[in-house]
């Protein structure tokens, strides 16, 4: 590719630290950090919402918050944790780690990458701005019409939700295109597909799920938006529409979404376990293929969210069977992880603890998932706290613990300092005990008949004690997160300097300095094996100083301008003002035009 832009002397390569340099950055590492920090703040907001929910439910007949506020809290808790916390926290790792693992200097489309981040940020801010108007979404994260139809939710609440999710979808889709192309086209010489680290593989599967699943929910949201704004009748049975259409479209997206949330965490765990067992991953190819299989089968199970609808015995049986089948590749992964540790020299460092916690908790969540797959049993569990227990075992015990494993594992690579082990262990054990206290009683609470999403319950239900235990557990998780934040603050000054490879790990990202220089690799590595740092045939060493000048793409402010155009359009739609929408559209068109034709060489 032609390098018309002046090349940068490698030793002078730095990106600056001004606000402007962050606004215009196209460096995948910086965008990764932006994703991580932003998503963590949203994680704290979502966690705060959860704590208020638990405080309200601590005892029967509580009146800490009103029913309306409670509806907003559980809706925003679910929406925030899924779209603004777990997905972008995974995206932080995609951004930071994937180019390093494949031996690339950046992603395929660096400005599109920046655009994804800014759209995500603006979408998240838009959703949360609803609190300022006292109109936070209150229709549940699943947004079933006709509850969310204009007739039953006339306020701005659902408008914020419908528009916010569409904006966030744009961010996810743009990132999806980018990472698929990056992983397929930008691998270093010798990095064959079956030499890719498992985390990169799971990223690839996840991105394929994103680019196929998000269009489906976009259509569902568009129908709902048109119903609310223009009087179309997609979800209005009286005028020939179909309420169940929403449920099918939503869960067609919603179930692949579950794997979008969990596959990256599975990838992280597949990196952490071999490193701290001092053994290559057991059955690498099988782990990769089972991940692919989960991605494919994830498309065939959506209606198990709808057993209570009454789809008839044939549909129920088919979706029961496919749901049970998907436990097979998942189980395969778990056995591979266990076999990886078998006979290894297991080191119980903090990332390893979180990875082990992931396996244990994900098994519990997986088992209750298989219980749901039986339509007959599911009818007893639907809309009770049993389901809440299940999703928190897979999404907190699974996804969040996997992400924390990744944070502790790659923190030294990203910052150059190791996090404090003692604080890390406190974090792990408190959150591990806390989550089991918070979520295990929910199994019983649900089976004993407490429905989910109600703002209070009567003392006659006899569930005060179990609910109180759950609330105590939730606050323990809160304390553990505070310990993590303190650990981050402590590590900034006192953390042990990491060096290139503090864990003696196998993959390519550990061959370069921590934190990596802006150009990542001083020379593009030539990969000779799947575990470059553990193989007998060593790869060529990567020199400290680049032997020749390296071309670095400059920054660009057009991604943030273009993303801002989308925000203005979304705000205009909320205000029902065509002029504001057109103004935003104009910013968007100008932004794309300038972006497309500015001199920028990758």
């Amino acid at each position: 590719m032609a390098t018309a832009v002046a090349e940068v002397k490698a030793e002078k390569a730095s990106l600056g630290s001004t606000l402007w340099s962050w606004l215009t950055t196209t460096d995948h590492k910086r965008i990764g950090i932006l994703y991580g920090v932003t998503a963590f703040v949203f994680f704290l907001i979502g966690g705060l919402e959860a704590l208020i929910i638990r405080a309200q439910l601590a005892h029967s007949g509580n009146d800490l918050v009103s029913a309306e506020t409670f509806n907003q809290l559980f809706t925003m808790h679910g929406t925030t944790m899924i779209f603004l916390a777990v997905m972008p926290l995974s995206a932080a790792f995609f951004n930071y780690i994937v180019p390093l693992q494949i031996g690339a200097r950046d992603v395929a489309f660096p400005r599109l990458n920046a655009f994804s981040y800014w759209v995500f940020l603006f979408g998240g801010l838009l959703l949360n701005a609803s609190f300022l108007f006292g109109a936070a979404p209150d229709g549940g994260w699943f947004g079933y019409p006709n509850l969310t139809s204009k007739q039953y939710s006339p306020g701005l609440n659902i408008d914020f939700w419908v528009i916010g999710l569409q904006v966030l979808g744009i961010a996810s889709l743009a990132a999806g295109f980018n990472f698929v192309v990056t992983i397929i086209n930008l691998r270093a010489p010798g990095m064959r597909m079956m030499r890719l680290p498992v985390f990169t593989w799971m990223t690839l599967v996840t991105q394929f799920l994103v680019i196929t699943a998000f269009p489906v929910i976009t259509v569902a949201l568009v129908f709902l938006m048109f119903d609310r704004f223009f009087g179309t009748t997609f979800y209005s049975t009286a005028a020939g529409g179909d309420l169940l259409l929403w449920q099918h479209l939503f869960w067609l997206f919603g179930h692949p979404e579950v794997y979008i949330l969990i596959l990256p965490a599975m990838g992280i765990v597949s990196e952490v376990l071999p490193t701290f067992s001092r053994k290559p991953l057991f059955g690498y190819a099988v782990v990769v293929y089972s991940g692919l299989l989960i991605g494919v089968m994830g498309w065939g199970v959506w209606a198990h969210h709808m057993f209570a609808v009454g789809m008839g015995p044939i549909a129920d049986s088919v979706f029961s069977a496919t749901t049970m089948l998907i436990a097979i590749p998942t189980g395969v992964k778990i056995f591979n992880w266990l076999a990886t540790m078998w006979g290894g020299q297991v080191q119980f460092r903090t990332p390893m603890l979180f990875a082990l916690g992931f396996i244990a908790m994900f098994i519990i969540g997986g088992l209750s998932g298989v219980m749901h797959s039986s339509a007959a049993a599911d009818l007893q569990q639907t809309d009770t706290y049993f389901v809440v227990a299940h999703i928190h075992y897979v999404l907190f015990g699974g996804a969040i613990q996997g992400i924390f494993a990744g944070i502790y594992y790659w923190w030294p690579k990203i910052t150059g300092r190791l996090m404090n082990e003692k604080l890390g262990k406190w974090h792990f054990w408190l959150s591990f005990i806390g989550m089991n206290l918070a979520f295990f009683p929910m199994h019983f609470i649900g089976l004993l008949g407490m429905p989910r999403r109600i703002y209070t319950y009567s003392p006659e239900l006899g569930l005060d004690t179990l609910n109180l235990v759950s609330t105590v557990g939730a606050f323990l998780i809160g304390i553990s997160v505070l310990i993590f934040i303190y650990n981050v603050w402590w590590t900034r000054r006192h953390g042990e300097v990491a060096g290139n490879d503090p864990w003696r790990a196998a993959t390519l990202e550990w061959t370069i300095p921590s934190p990596p220089p802006p150009y990542n690799f001083s020379v593009i590595p030539e990969v000779v094996s799947r575990l470059p740092r553990w193989s007998v045939t060593q790869m060529k060493a990567i020199p400290e100083v680049p032997p020749e000048p390296i071309h670095l793409p400059g920054g660009s402010y057009w991604p943030v301008v273009t993303a801002f155009g989308i925000l203005v359009m979304a705000a205009g739609a909320l205000l029902h003002s065509l002029w504001v929408v057109l103004l935003g559209g104009a910013v968007l068109v100008v932004g794309i035009y300038a972006w497309a034709f500015e001199p920028f060489e990758v």
Partner: protein, 243 residues
């Protein structure tokens, strides 16, 4: 058409062989994959709504004008052909608008002695797309004027009379309007985006002759998009207008 790809059209040499196509083209394919899912969800919803309802659907050709839209469909297909011609022209290095061939005797068969280059065929593609959108806007205005709206059919209008006479079933009039405007509207939006993008490229790249037989990535990438948009329309025209 076996055009020799110049080096710039291939991924950089210092990488593991990937998909074998350059990033922009692969990115467009992946993007079109998600577009397929988008239109599948739209069309699938339409099929469910239309064939899942126990009520009869409006007969074809009563509200929607099939001949006009058939002409519009023809126009869009022509535009796709023009795009192929534009691609072939620049792959052969023809950057010009029109030029004549002196070795061929000039007669009424223009295509024998007038040779179109990238500028000509690209402009024709844009004109085809823009006219399509124009006719669609005219169609919308005409339909809305006669009472056919996204929310259904208004009483006391031309189409309202048809409902009153029982020619158009009242029970599905609402969902008929909803699906028609949403599906054709999203397609029209895609065509508009294509026309705007091609206008960008026309003025910034085609007219200043930035493309050559060594690098015509922009033409190829937008061409993929354009053919996709045309293909979708053929499906939409069939299921929304004809059956």
């Amino acid at each position: 058409m076996a055009h020799a790809h110049a080096a710039v059209m291939q991924p950089p040499a210092a990488a593991e062989p990937g998909s074998g196509v350059y990033n922009e083209k692969l990115g467009m394919w992946i993007f079109l994959g998600s577009e397929v899912m988008f239109f599948t969800a739209l069309i699938g919803s339409y099929i469910i709504l239309r064939f899942g309802t126990p009520h009869p659907w409006a007969p074809p050709g009563v509200i929607l004008n099939i001949p006009v839209t058939a002409f519009n469909t023809f126009l869009l297909i022509c535009s796709s052909v023009f795009m192929v011609k534009a691609y072939a022209a620049i792959a052969d290095g023809k950057k010009h608008f029109l030029r004549t061939d002196p070795s061929v005797p000039h007669d009424w068969r223009l295509w024998r002695w007038v040779d179109g280059g990238l500028k000509f065929w690209f402009l024709m593609t844009i004109l085809g797309g823009a006219t399509f959108v124009g006719i669609q806007v005219y169609e919308y205005i005409h339909l809305a004027h006669n009472g056919f709206l996204p929310s259904g059919i208004k009483e006391g209008t031309h189409f309202g009379e048809l409902v009153a006479q029982g020619i158009v079933p009242a029970a599905t009039a609402g969902i008929y309007g909803s699906t028609f405007y949403t599906m054709t509207g999203f397609h029209g939006f895609h065509v508009t985006c294509g026309v705007v993008s091609m206008l960008y490229l026309f003025f910034k790249k085609v007219l200043p002759e930035k493309y050559s037989e060594h690098d015509y990535r922009g033409v190829e990438t937008i061409g993929l998009y354009w053919h996709f948009v045309d293909l979708v329309w053929i499906i939409l025209f069939t299921i929304v207008y004809l059956i």
